[in-house]
């Protein structure tokens, strides 16, 4: 080979093609069916993987360089946060409940997403798609770890964090998020991508992350703000991937449309139910509030989501089926959730409390049509009971929805005075649901959802056998420490005392 004149410079797009999809080849010793066994069974038809548009052209050297810089900053900040007792800068110890729920329910989901993206990063037949998914698999590992590391210092001082690895698998409310991620991973590769890449990352992430990180900033939690900001540029890539994958499926074959639509309907509703946890945090758990759940929904749900579905109408996609029911639930869900958490506070690894008069005034201002009418009277009743020395506790067990796993505490979309309850019989067994959305998801794939592990029935089985104390031991919930009312908790005592030491001369 002679030394040639220098080649003309390759364009970025061509160079990226050479550095990714040109690495793959058409196998001849083994069939594509053997190498990619799971591509057919969901019914999605892909004719040309090369039509996949790489949403971000990131080579590994650039990835290491950029991510390395972000990592350096992140750990510098959380090290300083730990050294300087940054936990004493939060507005109030009540704020910690939001962090506890996050570590117990959401961080394990990051790990599940890591694992799921590794699987689809191998199972898809297009190199461009695979590389994008593999990088997301790597990013999701980052998110799981940065969250654990950021919250690790809180664990040293406060209750409720110490057993997150056990509560993830055993406590009742974490199974809402766990079943969501398990469901996505139990699905085929294309559905997984719609579930996590599109519904969760694209449609719902803003509703999770923006209020959460703003809430952290408002409440003086530098550690959480930092992992949020540090993850943001990763999320931007993930959202682009989610949108690209949905367009790719829709452009490949018209037969894909009804399948994709069904998944959008399903995963919107699944995600919306999980986000109920966020609504409670925003309306009740932030001592200094950013905005109400209703306001967040207006911006990130109605405006952003509305614009997105307007764009997707070009492909024949309509807004998710549960969209209207979701809209009707917005003014109720955080109150219904918090009342649930409060009455079952013996069984939560975080604290809850009766909102103060000031809090209730804020809620009635933010929810003028519902709070005073439906929820203030209940809090007033609970408050009276408390004052009379007969604190309101519900030691009965909630009926859980077979699909989303939340207690059936929601009301009918059009009548907030009637509890919403649906049921269906499958092979002689009765299954219960919190909503039409959840019932439809079950009825589409009953063989999947009959398998669901339900934490409440577990209470009556070995090794717990209906004994509440035994259940707490089994769930790694330390009675009197992790659970119950915030007022009088060790978190409250310690936070107030330490903060007093830090901010006054006592």
């Amino acid at each position: 080979m002679d030394m040639k004149a220098p080649e003309k410079k390759l364009g970025i797009k061509e160079k990226y093609r050479l550095l990714t999809r040109d690495l793959a080849w058409q196998p001849t010793y083994r069939s594509e069916k053997e190498i990619y066994p799971y591509l057919d069974y969901e019914g999605i038809k892909i004719h040309d993987w090369d039509k996949w548009e790489d949403p971000f052209r990131l080579t590994m050297d650039a990835y290491w360089k950029y991510q390395g810089e972000k990592e350096r900053k992140f750990y510098a900040i959380i090290d300083a946060h730990a050294q300087n007792n940054g936990h004493l800068n939060i507005t109030d110890g009540r704020y910690l409940s939001a962090l506890k729920i996050f570590l117990q329910a959401i961080s394990p989901g990051e790990y599940a997403a890591h694992k799921g993206f590794a699987r689809v990063g191998r199972e898809f037949a297009g190199a461009g798609t695979q590389v994008a998914c593999q990088m997301q698999a790597l990013d999701e590992m980052r998110h799981a770890q940065t969250q654990i590391h950021a919250l690790s210092n809180y664990n040293k001082y406060y209750s409720g964090f110490h057993a997150f690895a056990e509560t993830r698998d055993r406590i009742w409310y974490t199974s809402v998020a766990r079943s969501f991620f398990d469901d996505s991973m139990a699905s085929g590769p294309f559905e997984f991508l719609i579930a996590i890449g599109f519904s969760f990352e694209y449609v719902l992430t803003n509703l999770l992350f923006v209020p959460f990180m703003s809430g952290a900033a408002y409440n003086g939690d530098m550690a959480t703000v930092t992992f949020g900001f540090s993850a943001q540029s990763d999320e931007a890539r993930h959202m682009t991937l989610g949108l690209e994958c949905i367009k790719f499926m829709l452009e490949q074959d018209p037969d894909n449309l009804p399948i994709v639509q069904k998944w959008i309907d399903k995963w919107f509703w699944r995600g919306f139910r999980v986000l109920g946890l966020v609504s409670t945090m925003m309306d009740y758990m932030l001592p200094k509030r950013v905005m109400s759940w209703r306001e967040a929904w207006e911006i990130y749900g109605v405006e952003n989501g509305g614009a997105l579905f307007k764009d997707l109408a070009f492909y024949g996609i309509r807004p998710p089926k549960g969209w209207e029911d979701a809209g009707k639930a917005i003014d109720h869900m955080s109150h219904q959730f918090m009342l649930g958490f409060y009455q079952w506070r013996f069984g939560t690894a975080f604290h809850s409390w009766i909102p103060s008069d000031q809090d209730m005034d804020w809620l009635s201002q933010k929810y003028p049509t519902t709070f005073d009418k439906y929820y203030r009277p209940r809090w007033d009743y609970i408050k009276r009971a408390e004052a009379e020395g007969k604190p309101f506790k519900n030691f009965g067990l909630a009926k859980l929805c077979q699909c989303c796993q939340l207690p059936c505490v929601f009301t009918e979309p059009d009548d907030a005075s009637v509890l919403c309850h649906r049921q269906t019989t499958h092979k002689g067994e009765i299954y219960h649901f919190c909503s039409d959305g959840c019932q439809e998801i079950f009825e589409d794939e009953p063989e999947k959802y009959v398998q669901a592990w339900l934490p409440m029935p577990q209470l009556f089985q070995d090794p717990v056998n209906g004994d509440l104390a035994a259940w707490m031991d089994w769930a790694h919930l330390t009675d009197g420490l992790d659970n119950g009312e915030y007022q009088g908790s060790s978190d409250q005592r310690n936070f107030d005392r330490w903060r007093g030491l830090a901010t006054s001369n006592t």
Partner: protein
């Protein structure tokens, strides 16, 4: 840790998360430990995969290796995302500096044409081998059990994407666009590469994650990296005036030296777990190793000519000696 604040002490209530205290005692945990141990859901998995209803979502049973505790397979490098990324970020700085040096000084043009052609005929098709490795490690990460074992596999997967990209850039730098095209044609059709391509495609249909780990990391890469980056690049080619190639492939030799420590630790721990494990591992290493050696021989001939047979024998002996230290006797 105790922090004194205005002469008054704020006392930590505990030193670490419960699951880490159970494993390592009542002492502060490292970030590797926090980011690795028990972070995979272990109980009460909700649904079986619709894509393989005979499996669990996280299934210990899809490999023949049996571990009482999969978290025993720890990474001696203690890589978690941060330490992994920072290590590679530093290395890529060095690679960039090397490439700038090569291009700035016009070093590519100083390699004798015969040698350049020979080197590219070996290195460029290897970008496809690295892509195969990327696929296999991604599989091990996705389907292996427990983050101690699977976390390094996603790093290994993306390292191999990086290696494939570096090899492509070397092809472009020392040859040009045509070099990549020719390299791919050789990979697809040249008899010298067909046994190796068959090996890689057979790996792509192997769905026992631990077997795949062995086939890729031990049997194939355990021979390939010392052969290509040792005997060829640092040995024969350097003595023929091709030390520029060594400069361009520094990442690969450093990477192999680093990652083999992890690979050896995994093999050693799994083999020490039980006689049954040791038998399975020995069987896999023997059968995949035999095939890998056969597949690499024609590649060795491309790069080393007549010395190929002798060098391959040495590499196999070296690998056997390396494995003996992990408890595997071939």
């Amino acid at each position: 840790m105790q922090i004194d604040l205005r002469t008054v002490t704020i006392e930590p209530q505990r030193v670490a998360f419960d699951h880490l205290i159970r494993r390592f005692g009542n002492k502060p945990a490292s970030r590797y430990q926090e980011g690795t141990y028990d972070i995979q859901a272990a109980e009460n998995l909700h649904y079986r995969p619709t894509w393989a209803p005979d499996q669990e979502l996280y299934d210990k049973g899809i490999t023949r290796i049996v571990m009482r505790d999969w978290y025993d397979l720890k990474d001696p490098r203690q890589f978690f995302y941060n330490t992994y990324t920072l290590t590679r970020a530093r290395q890529q700085d060095a690679v960039e500096a090397n490439y700038k040096f090569i291009e700035g000084k016009g070093l590519a043009g100083m390699i004798a044409p015969d040698l350049r052609e020979k080197a590219l005929s070996v290195l460029v098709p290897l970008r496809h081998v690295a892509w195969g490795a990327n696929q296999n490690h991604t599989f091990v990460c996705g389907y292996g059990y427990g983050a101690a074992f699977t976390q390094p596999s996603i790093y290994q997967a993306l390292d191999n994407l990086g290696i494939a990209q570096y090899l492509s850039r070397i092809g472009l730098m020392l040859g040009g666009l045509d070099t990549l095209t020719q390299g791919k044609e050789a990979w697809i059709g040249d008899p010298a590469w067909q046994d190796l391509r068959r090996y890689v495609e057979d790996c792509l249909v192997t769905r026992d994650p631990f077997e795949l780990f062995i086939a890729q990391n031990v049997a194939l890469d355990g021979l390939l990296y010392p052969l290509v980056y040792g005997d060829m690049v640092d040995g024969a080619w350097a003595s023929e005036g091709g030390s520029t190639i060594a400069l361009a492939t520094q990442f690969m030799s450093d990477w192999f030296d680093e990652t083999r420590k992890w690979v050896d630790a995994v093999v050693k721990t799994a083999a020490a777990e039980s006689a049954a494990n040791k038998d399975v591992l020995t069987g896999w290493i023997a059968s995949w190793g035999e095939r890998a050696a056969r597949a690499l021989l024609p590649v060795a001939r491309l790069g080393l000519g007549d010395q190929a047979e002798a060098v391959m024998d040495e590499r196999r002996a070296d690998l056997a000696a390396r494995l003996a230290k992990t408890g595997i006797k071939l």
